[in-house]
Each structure stands twice: as C-alpha cells, then as structure tokens.
Symmetry: C2
Subunit: 257 residues, 2 copies
Amino acid sequence: MSVLASGTPMCDRPETAEPVPKSALGRAHRLFSCFHYDETRLTLSELSRRSGLPLSTTHRMVTEMVRLGMLDRDRDDRLCIGVNLWRLGLLAGTYGIQRVALPYMQDLYATTGLPIHLAIPQGEQTTVVESLRPLEQRLERPRIGQHDPMHVVGNGMAILAFSDPPLQQRYLARLACTEAEDVRRELARTRTIGYSVSTRRTGPSIAIGAPVLDRGGRPLAAISIIVPPGSAVTPYGHLMRDTAHAVQRMAWDQALV
Amino acid sequence: MSVLASGTPMCDRPETAEPVPKSALGRAHRLFSCFHYDETRLTLSELSRRSGLPLSTTHRMVTEMVRLGMLDRDRDDRLCIGVNLWRLGLLAGTYGIQRVALPYMQDLYATTGLPIHLAIPQGEQTTVVESLRPLEQRLERPRIGQHDPMHVVGNGMAILAFSDPPLQQRYLARLACTEAEDVRRELARTRTIGYSVSTRRTGPSIAIGAPVLDRGGRPLAAISIIVPPGSAVTPYGHLMRDTAHAVQRMAWDQALV
DNA sequence: CCTCGATCTCCCGCTCAGCGGAAGGACCGA
DNA sequence: TCGGTCCTTCCGCTGAGCGGGAGATCGAGG
C-alpha cells in the first residue's frame, strides 16, 4: 500500500507489476490505467508500451473501444478517455452524496471562505469527490478523484473512526507501531467529540472533518474544512459536526440510505 | 436518430436492438449501458435480463468487473457503476474545458442569477457538461451528461453554426424540409452575430449561446444563458459572446488547443 | 534523392479464454 | 411443503481474440 497520495486512476500501479492479464476485461482495464491526470492523451504505441500489450493487440482493442465510445480520439488523433465514460461515471455512487452535500458545502464556503472538501471511503483509502476553494488554488492538491490513505487526511480520520472495528484493526496493523498508537488515540477522540482534527497533510493549517453516516452507522462520506494555524478548533468542529448531521438527515430523507 | 432528449448513458438505446455482441468488450459495453440516470443500482439478474446476456455469462463478467473496480457493490449487494470509473471519467476531454470555463460561468451566474450551461459537441449531438442554476432547480432538466440534438438547444445551435459545412449538411439533411430551412437560416444568422437565440426547448424563455472555438476555428464547446421571456436579447448576446471569447483565450493559453 | 526510425494498419492461422447450459444452494412468502 | 426468486459453480466445446509479421505512411537527417 502506497503511503503517498496518488492521482492514479483505476488501479494504483498501472505498469510496474508485470503480469499482463489474459482476460479481455483485464486488458481493457490495463489500457484504461495507462491514462493519468497529467497524461490524458496518448498515442497508440505509447498505450502499447505502457500497458505491455503487443501493438497489434492494443490496436485491435483500442479500435473497438473507440467504436464503443469508451475512448475518444482528439484532434491530433491521439487517444483519450471517452466522453461517454465520463457520462457513465456520473452514475457512480459518489454522485448521490455529492448532489446532497454540495449546497451545504457551498454554504460553508460562503460563510468561512475556507477550503471545503468532500470525501468517500473506498476500501482502505478515501477518494476526494468535491472540493471548494479559491479559484487560484483550483489546480493544487488535493485534486478531485485523488486517493489518500485514511490516517493522513482529516476526512479519512473521520471516516476511519466510524468504520467497523475489523477494518480499523486491519488498517492500524499496517502502520508502524508508534504511529498506530497515535492514530488509535486520535480515532478514539474523534469518536468522542464527533469530528477529527488533523495536521498530517495540511502543514501548519488544520483539517477538521466530520462523518456522514448511513442508517447502519457506517460512514458514507466526510466533510472537512481547512482552517489557518492558530484558529480556535472547537467552534469549527461543532460547525462541521452540525453540517455533516444536516447532510446526513437530507441523505436519509432522499432514501440514498 | 432519436429526436427527443435522452439521459441514457454510453449508447442511446440499451436493450431494444437485439443483436447481442460477441466480443467481450461489446458485452461489457452492453452491461454498462443497462445503467441509467434513475436506475443506478441493479441486481445481477436484472442486469442479465436487460442486457440479454445469459445469467452465467453476466455473473462471470460482473464478478471480474467488480474485481477490477469498474462496478461496485452497494450495501445491499446490488451493482452500480464503480467509483473508479467515475475517477477515470475525470480524465475525459470534457474536463479541460470545464475547468477553464467554470470561473467565467460562476461570474455570469453571480451577476445575472440566470441559468448558465456549458455543452460540448459529441458527434451530431451536444452533451451538457456543467450547469449552474438555483438550487431548487438542481434536479430538473437539463441534467449534466444529457445528450441533445444540436438544433433544439441554444448551445447546440452555437456549435452547429461553426461546425464544418459537411457536418452541417449531413445534419440538415435529416430534418424535415421546412424545419431544415428554418434551422439553416438561424445558423446563418448565428454566424453573423456570433451567438445563437433559441426557444425550441426553453418554452417561453430564451436560450442565448455562444461558441468557444479551437485554433482551427472548430467548436470546442458553447456557453448559454436562459433569459426570461421579453428580455432584451442583444445585450445578453454580447455578454455571452464576450464571455465565450474570454474562455477561448484562456483555453488557448492553457494549450488545451 | 534515399535511408532510417517511428508511426499506424491489416492479415491470417492457431489456441485458450470465455461461453453458457445445467445443476444446486439459499432465501422468502404462500 | 411447495414454487418462486435469487445467486453461485462446474465443465466440455469452440470461435473470439491473439499476436507475429508484412506493409503503408510520414518526417527528419544526410
């Protein structure tokens, strides 16, 4: 498990591990995984090289994927992820919670002017789903779609604290001993006060996150705010907790579980 | 070509046409196409029935697609589009122009309070990429990702007017004779004044759209505003034209062609 | 002008990935 | 208990897909 953030799509290691999949789906997945946040347009041979698939195989598959709209050709005839795939992605589970949370996030952002992030759990990582912040920071990290280990980001801690104990155990087991102890203590505190406080990723600034739970008490998402160093944490904590609760009520009402 | 709008993902008719594809990719595509804006969660047998694929085949494919992260299982073990697919979709071409245009759109929305839409050309249709409007209209049409024929929406007319003549000819050839004549006239006018004016879809309101062109003069996208009946059209037209120009300059600068 | 290297496209015979019918288990409401 | 639905697994046949290789195309360099 990589400890640094990765903006990599689909699988987290596109090419390093060698065993080329034999199934058509596996190969398609391998091709998809060659695309990357700052390498969104590739030529056929680049795809072939990166994926490790023979050129003729790549050619055949790519041709069909373009026909099906999974890939598009741009003006220079280079290949990129198809608009239809983007449309498909709109149907992913993330979108329900994003639609519900966005108004509340906009409200938070309007009143505080501070960066607001929405993340969901995905396995043992979190995925950033939405991000509101000043325009001049639009291209900085974190980027929408980014994966992060749970324990290094505020949203992740809020999610991990309310995940089921087996997952927490498994997660902690992977950390270095002393760090695991720190994290365990922070998780307990997060459960008690209802919001997480984290500085691991935010340098001097402080990330404060609160979870949105489903009816079963499992974390559906988390919302965080990044406050400047030296801010009074408690009021922000309460603000986030209340907002997350409001989002939660709305999500339950809308039967998004 | 369906003339009504469709919110259908990937292919525009998921099940009606019968010939089940024999290629694995075609079958995967068929499975994807079973998901729909208001049917985002399906059981295995539903998928099998809708796709027309045998149950055991569906089962095998779905299992692998879940393993690869193309599909996810929700809490009830039902299947839905995978979060990883959403992440992949973020790399599609639409996102470059969306990132560039959004600030300008927000500006338009803030100053006018009127609905602002961004659309891109996709074959002979347009796809809605971004939409800013009052929160209470969030769930109405048009929805993000929606396809529309070019000639019925303001953005579409702005795009069609600046597309290459062969595409225009092909497009007009499909329309009824009298309608084709109307559309042709409107296109000419759009080219002259630099923005489109359309009421075909907006009922009494008026859609005003302006194109964003690439360096080759081909339409990259269009931005539209929906103004109330009886508004003075010309000032809005100039506003949209100027905004689209600003987006265009920015897109060129950012080497998004 | 030709050559070299890179690109993409196409062909075709071999073979194994994938197909799907069938059987069986789990669950539920009647 | 039965009939219905759902999901899962097995296994022998076969054609979809594989990929080496030939060839077309383009541009840079000599």
